[in-house]
Amino acid sequence: MKFDRRTFAKLAFGLLGATALGFSPALAQDKPAPFDKPGQVKIALVRYLSTGDFFQAYLAGVESQAKALGVDLRVLDSKQDAALQADMVDQAIALGVNGIIIQHGLTESMKEAAQRAVDAGIKVVAFDVNVENPKIPQIEQSDRDLARLALEQAIKDNGESWKAGYVYVAGIAPLDRRNETWVEFKKKYSGIKEAAQFGTLDNPIANSVANQARSVLSANPDIKVMFAPYDEFAKGVKIAVDEAGLSKDIKIYSADISTSDIAAMREPDSAWAATAATNPAVVGQVSVRALAQLLAGEDPGKSVIVPPTLITQKELVEKDIKNMEELSAKLPQFAHADVAMPKWMPNPNAK
């Protein structure tokens, strides 16, 4: 074997890699306290909502970032019981955790519990629930940006004048924020006419919305665009559009994404043209990172916004993306958000 410069370089790289691996505990010491001894850091995730793909993926994100940091994560799940969720914060305080992530919940029930945690010297961040506390940073996926991205794509595809069907249920915070953007767009583009508004959260949502959408389509056969800013709505609308045989005449724009959404968008002649989504796993990672920054004495900012990504049918087909994992692998902007990433923070997505 010839010992030329190239083999030498390879050898050197290999050695370097081995050193890096072998001495990674030493590297960890570069992290600020308390993450120089991450095994002693305990954090708790106190959840209000947990069933469904979004929340599963969110939890996976929290777990992966906690693992990358090496901290001890406790998950407390109140399963939509507001009173229990508040009790769980007290439970976490009693457990002696260093930090708490409050994931969803009601302002009224969580405000005082969150204050008690702050008083106990615990660092707290909140995702998608406003606990009205200046010491608690808000992690948010920007619902307005989600709606804006989807609607901009709708205008790009269909021009500035069309008849729309709109799916909306008032009183759900993220849907209300998405609705604000829709109202703005209608004002800005006078050519966009809302022919019908409908929507329901009756379970299974897609089935109930499909029933409604069928009625709407037969009452308003001239609808060109359906804006359904929640993927369960979009699934229902797509079923109705398919059943009415209109999949080539109508385009659906939505928000959020899951593996089954990807399958529905990829169907031949699918009416579902585009969706804007924030990766729930990334939101979970950002939640942990923001909390870690607080624990290290850094300021992640009052509100930490995770930017959304536009995903079009064309991209899914061209890049042959079939599930969420492939989406993360082939759309890097979806897999990782450069939010709450100080230099010392380990990136759980790095291979």
């Binding site: 089935n207 069928r214 037969s218 399958a263």
Partner: protein
């Protein structure tokens, strides 16, 4: 006069409603619209027919909604994760329906658990059980399993046809499979309950269990059969739901349960029956379907629809309990 009001009042109300929507909502009167109403009530209607069977023996089945969603998850699991064909999926679902019916019946008849409580327990049990195989994920083709591998199967075309194929009837591609299934099951259960010895005996058990027992009827067997029928119907509903959605959706099925029960209770009022009956249940389901279709076409928001649904139910119950003389035995 009073008798006529009780007997036909509800049907007149139904006709008036159809006439009202026909004159106010564009496109309400068309074969497509009619078929669509049937389609939108097909799944809840099938569940309602099942629960009617338990009402007939004086019982109640709260688990039908979650039986349906469990069957939906099972169908998706069998095809997507286990990579089996449509026939296997359907058989597994039906087997689940039978099994749950047997367990419900066993709990109620032999363990003496009151029907509402036994089936309530079963409802919760199934809500949890349907999530266990996938650790809470919904099932879709190409999904990632908890262990990181990708599910190998997909919904077979034959299975999806159950939700999407349409038969030619008057117009080409008009009647979906689910509507045919609804009509067939409705006629079958109507004939079974009204005209077979087995069905009449179920009514006897329901009206006076002790008398039926003294007359030598195997009361326990009839009751268990009623829950098995309910379980099978609910699982058929779940199969159709899975075929329509094309995926296994984490869902409680509570709305399916409530709508189905509403349809069955509205059915009490039809033709002044004052008792559970298959024809009434079918009319009740259609009534709710017509209401929702018409209101949606007129752009009424979802909460008014719930309100109207509730109002109809109250009116129907008044017909049943206050106006009917037969109810005052």
């Amino acid at each position: 006069m009073r008798d006529i009001a009780v007997r036909y009042g509800f049907l007149v109300l139904f006709a008036a409603l159809v006439a009202y929507f026909a004159s106010t909502a564009d496109g309400f009167v068309s074969p497509q619209s009619a078929v669509f109403i049937f389609q939108s009530v097909a799944i809840t209607g099938i569940l309602a027919l099942g629960v009617t069977a338990t009402l007939v023996v004086g019982g109640f089945d709260l688990s039908i909604g979650s039986v349906a969603t469990s069957a939906m998850m099972a169908a998706a699991y069998v095809m997507v994760v286990l990579d089996q064909n449509a026939l296997v999926a359907v058989l597994v679902c039906l087997a689940i329906g039978v099994l749950i019916g047997l367990i419900n019946g066993f709990l109620i008849v032999y363990m003496r658990v009151p029907d509402l409580l036994a089936t309530l327990g079963m409802m919760f049990l199934l809500l949890g059980l349907q999530r266990i195989p996938t650790e809470g994920r919904s099932i879709a083709a190409g999904m990632t399993m908890p262990d990181g591998s990708v599910a190998p199967g997909k919904f077979s075309a034959a299975f999806l046809a159950l939700g999407r194929h349409r038969f030619d009837f008057f117009a080409p591609n008009l009647v979906p499979v689910s509507v045919v299934v609804l009509v067939v099951l409705a006629v079958a259960i109507w004939f079974f309950l009204e005209y077979t010895r087995f069905g009449r005996m179920m009514y006897a058990v329901g009206s006076n269990e002790r008398a039926a027992e003294l007359a030598g009827a195997p009361v326990k067997a009839y009751k268990i059969w009623a829950y098995v029928i309910s379980g099978i119907f609910a699982s058929i509903g779940g199969i159709l739901l899975a075929a329509r959605l094309g995926r296994g959706d984490i869902a409680s099925g509570n709305n399916l349960l409530l709508d189905a029960v509403a349809a069955a209770l509205i059915g009490f009022a039809v033709l002044g029956a004052s008792k559970p009956n298959a024809f009434g249940t079918a009319v009740g389901a259609l009534f709710v379907g017509v209401l929702l279709q018409g209101l949606t076409m007129m752009n009424a928001p979802y909460y008014t629809q719930d309100f109207v649904k509730g109002a109809v139910l109250v009116v129907a119950l008044v017909f049943t309990f206050a106006l009917s003389t037969r109810a005052k035995r």
